[in-house]
């Protein structure tokens, strides 16, 4: 569900305070349907706080916004139902088998019995891991765990998926394999909202925002940003903006 302007996320004046500390300070931005949007920022810049609000896990102190057409101020439950989310920490159940995890998360997202049975076969198949469907998730190599976690985050065919540092600590080849899955999902029309500390990955995004001290310091395509700051790569752009941070 998107607005007339084709934006799947619209945020205006979003602010979140914890006591006297303003974690997110009056930010406004939008995400277009079908784009890969990189949400960058230094540690403590307010990324996680903002992302929690977008995912319906926390209420803003002030400000308005919609995610997939639902208000961040009153329709949290609708937001949760309609987005996919993959957390920084691996969040499948390691003691459950591959198909049991699929059934558990599919059930939570309200898939019917027939569809669940189909997914328990089709997901392992599409990942080329049919032989592992009956194995516990803890026995899978890291690369497969990540692929499975991503597929499960997409189990209810959400129009937008939030990925919180999906590639931290992952080996270089798996990291690229994972981004190829992200690009594939985007080609199929899914909007991807992603955070990362790898600045080479920022180059794969259609547009990125860079948060500094609770505000969005700049936003644009990697090409635009590199041009604007006269830097050869996103790593240098990021450093230029993030070193202005006053917060410690």
């Amino acid at each position: 569900m998107t607005g007339e302007n084709g934006n799947i996320i619209e945020i205006n004046g979003l602010t979140k305070r914890f006591g006297s500390f303003t974690a997110v300070d009056n930010i406004s931005f939008h995400v277009r349907k079908g784009e890969i949007f990189g949400f960058l920022g230094a540690n403590g810049a307010g990324k996680t706080t903002a992302m929690k609000i977008l995912c319906g896990l926390s209420l803003p102190t002030s400000g308005e916004g919609t995610v997939n057409g639902f208000s961040i101020n009153g329709e949290q439950e609708q937001i949760k139902r309609h987005i996919g989310y993959m957390s920084q920490k691996f969040s499948l159940y390691p003691d459950l088998k591959v198909w049991e995890n699929i059934r558990l998360f599919g059930g939570i997202y309200g898939l019917g019995f027939k569809e669940l049975r189909k997914k328990c076969v089709s997901i392992p198949e599409s990942l080329g891991m049919e032989d592992y469907a009956d194995k516990s998730v803890s026995s899978l190599p890291l690369g497969w765990k990540q692929k499975l976690a991503f597929s499960i985050a997409m189990i209810h065919n959400p129009e937008i998926v939030f990925l919180d540092e999906p590639t931290g600590g992952v080996d270089p080849e798996t990291r690229r394999m994972f981004w190829e899955m992200i690009c594939g999902a985007a080609e199929n029309g899914t909007t991807v909202f992603v955070t990362t500390h790898y600045m080479d990955e920022a180059e794969y995004c259609d547009r990125v925002s860079i948060m500094v001290d609770g505000r969005i310091a700049d936003i644009g395509s990697p090409e635009e940003l590199k041009g604007r700051y006269g830097e050869p790569d996103m790593d240098s752009v990021f450093r230029k903006l993030a070193t202005k941070a006053k917060r410690f």
């Binding site: 992952v170 394999m177 190829e180």
Partner: protein
């Protein structure tokens, strides 16, 4: 002289071979990097060297002292910063530092010169509880606590994981200053771009060391001709390149792709022609030198289970 000598170290957890036959020498006063992804065995090796874990086979010595027989002696001469923040969250900055100094039979005052440069940055917050510090400040405090007893070797297990690009650069500058005082530093990281900041590195995956040397040596031993290929649209172009004749492997590196080629089968001009005739725009191809990340993927590819690899 070698500060650390590791000979044929093995460690298994049940069926999982965490470390297989690790042999390494680390020289006095160098910054030695253990470079590898999660689950490669970096933490297990650190715990064995820090005398917190017994190996199943092999032996290791630190400053000539055996890690199994003389563990008590070793503990006084090393500093260890684990990957998980492991200070006391309810104690203040100063109380934490005082605690670690006392455990090692010394005082903050006695070794103040050792930590002055880093500690002075967090000293204004010395009464704040450690749990209330920002990520960057926690890291500085942890580093002070690992240095307060004047160790000759410092073990840092993934000190920059999850840390943003700016703070990571600051942290490396601190390490260089510590090295100047003669301390040997062993540091692990999953970030390949940090490899080139070390004096020497070992690339580690699945519990095995796949290469050791200076970053330059490792880059020089890369066996293929490597091309940087730019053009639009990037993702379809990547898939197209992998199907072109003479391409050994092709991966994205930010805004470009790195393609390893067999120069007998293809070259820059042939590829440029293929890309343009298939509708790709703004194509630019040039030969480049490999990065440590290119080398890691090439070396890891030789030992990885092929079914897992990108085809």
């Amino acid at each position: 002289m070698n500060a650390i000598e590791i000979r044929n170290i093995c460690k298994n957890y049940g069926d999982c071979k965490a470390l297989s036959d690790i042999t390494l020498d680390i020289s006095e006063g160098e910054i030695f990097g253990l470079i590898g992804p999660d689950g490669a065995g970096k933490t297990t090796l650190f715990r064995i060297l820090a005398t917190l874990l017994l190996p199943d086979g092999g032996n290791a010595s630190i400053n000539g002292t055996d890690v199994i027989k003389d563990y008590e002696k070793i503990r006084c001469s090393i500093g260890y910063m684990p990957g998980q923040f492991s200070l006391y969250q309810d104690l203040s900055v100063e109380e934490n530092l005082d605690f670690f100094a006392t455990v090692f039979g010394t005082t903050i005052k006695e070794n103040y010169d050792n930590i002055k440069e880093i500690y002075s940055q967090i000293e204004p917050f010395k009464d704040r509880r450690a749990g209330k510090l920002s990520g960057g400040m926690k890291q500085k405090l942890a580093l002070c606590c690992a240095l307060v007893h004047n160790p000759s070797i410092l073990f840092l297990d993934e000190p920059t994981t999850g840390v943003d690009a700016v703070s990571r650069k600051d942290f490396w500058n601190m390490l260089y200053r510590i090295r100047e005082s003669g301390v040997t530093i062993v540091v692990s990281t999953p970030y390949m771009d940090e490899a080139s900041k070390c004096d020497r590195i070992a690339l580690i995956q699945h519990g095995r060391i796949i290469e050791t040397g200076t970053p330059e040596q490792i880059k020089e031993s890369y066996p293929y001709t490597l091309l940087s290929v730019k053009g639009k649209p990037a993702y379809p172009m990547l898939r197209f390149l992998r199907r072109c004749p003479g391409i050994i492997s092709c991966f994205s590196f930010g805004s470009e792709h790195h393609a390893a080629i067999d120069p007998k089968t293809t070259d820059e001009r042939t590829l440029a022609g293929l890309l343009e005739s298939n509708g790709f725009k703004n194509c630019r191809i040039k030969e480049i030198k490999p990065t440590v990340e290119d080398c890691f993927m090439q070396l890891a590819g030789k030992v990885t289970d092929n079914t897992l690899r990108i085809k």
